[in-house]
């Protein structure tokens, strides 16, 4: 648990934020496992191969589906939470192969996930307003 902290720091500082990262990691892991197989299959495989009905995800239908309240929740479950899951695994993976410093990796990974999440949710809101 405390493997990322140098020994001298351990005695003085408690990692109050770690439960948050592990919670987001777990929630993102559930989304990655349960939702992403179907999402990738339909959006990244069947759609570009032309195997969906022509009007299934044309511009009008895709806009109507995404720029809505369900679309907002979809983005949270398919983009934001999996991003925090990925950030957590990348941070620990970098630690495992001794790349960079964990203090910096942590800021970069979770910060990147947070920025992209805000960007994604902002795009949905922009689409709902336009």
């Amino acid at each position: 648990m405390n493997k990322h902290k140098p020994q001298h720091e351990l005695q003085h500082k408690q990692a109050f934020d770690e439960p948050l990262w592990w919670g987001l990691f777990s929630a993102g892991g559930v989304c990655f496992a349960v939702l992403l197989p179907a999402v990738i299959l339909f959006i990244a495989v069947l759609l570009p191969l032309g195997l969906l009905p022509a009007n299934a995800l044309n511009y009008e239908r895709a806009s109507a589906l995404l720029f809505s309240v369900p679309g907002f929740l979809f983005v949270g479950a398919v983009i934001c939470l999996p991003l925090f899951h990925a950030a957590h695994r990348l941070r620990h993976g970098l630690f495992d192969i001794s790349v960079g410093s964990d203090a910096l990796n942590k800021k970069l990974m979770y910060g990147g996930a947070a920025l992209l999440s805000v960007f994604a949710l902002g795009l949905v809101i922009a689409g709902m307003l336009s």
């Binding site: 990655f32 179907a38 570009p48 969906l52 995404l66 990925a86 495992d96 992209l116 994604a120």
Partner: protein, 131 residues
């Protein structure tokens, strides 16, 4: 751990995980997020394209159909299924379920989660698969 014992531990080499099958599988599972991140970046590009208009959206669909992108996303699909296979077996260990005093067998919990994957796929088929 006291300080004297931590000083005796040598730092791990970067390739420590290559020495055992279990650790290689562990690192492979960590790596499943790489194609996932690629797919998510593709999705974000698609959302920007959708916001820009019909022409951009069609351009994005064509981009998703280019061979290299398609292959990377097929890799993401495989990674999501591998991740699911490793993630679902953890559930009964982290949170064993008991119904009416009897503990639910691990296989039932794992099967229930795979049923969830199938249910989501059926939902997508209902939403997008019909002409």
């Amino acid at each position: 751990m006291d300080k004297s014992s931590s000083h005796r531990l040598l730092p791990l080499k970067r390739n420590w995980w290559l020495k055992h099958r279990f650790f290689k599988l562990y690192m492979l599972r960590e790596a499943t997020v790489l194609p996932l991140v690629f797919f998510i970046l593709c999705l974000l590009a698609g959302m920007v394209a959708l916001l820009q208009g019909a022409e951009s959206w069609q351009g994005w669909v064509d981009f998703m159909g280019s061979p290299i992108v398609l292959v990377l996303n097929l890799l993401a699909l495989a990674a999501s299924l591998f991740h699911a296979a490793t993630f679902f077996v953890l559930f009964p260990r982290v949170m064993p379920l008991r119904i009416a005093g009897h503990s639910l067998p691990d296989q039932a919990i794992v099967a229930g989660q795979w049923a969830g994957v199938v249910a989501v796929a059926l939902l997508f088929f209902w939403l997008l698969g019909r002409a």
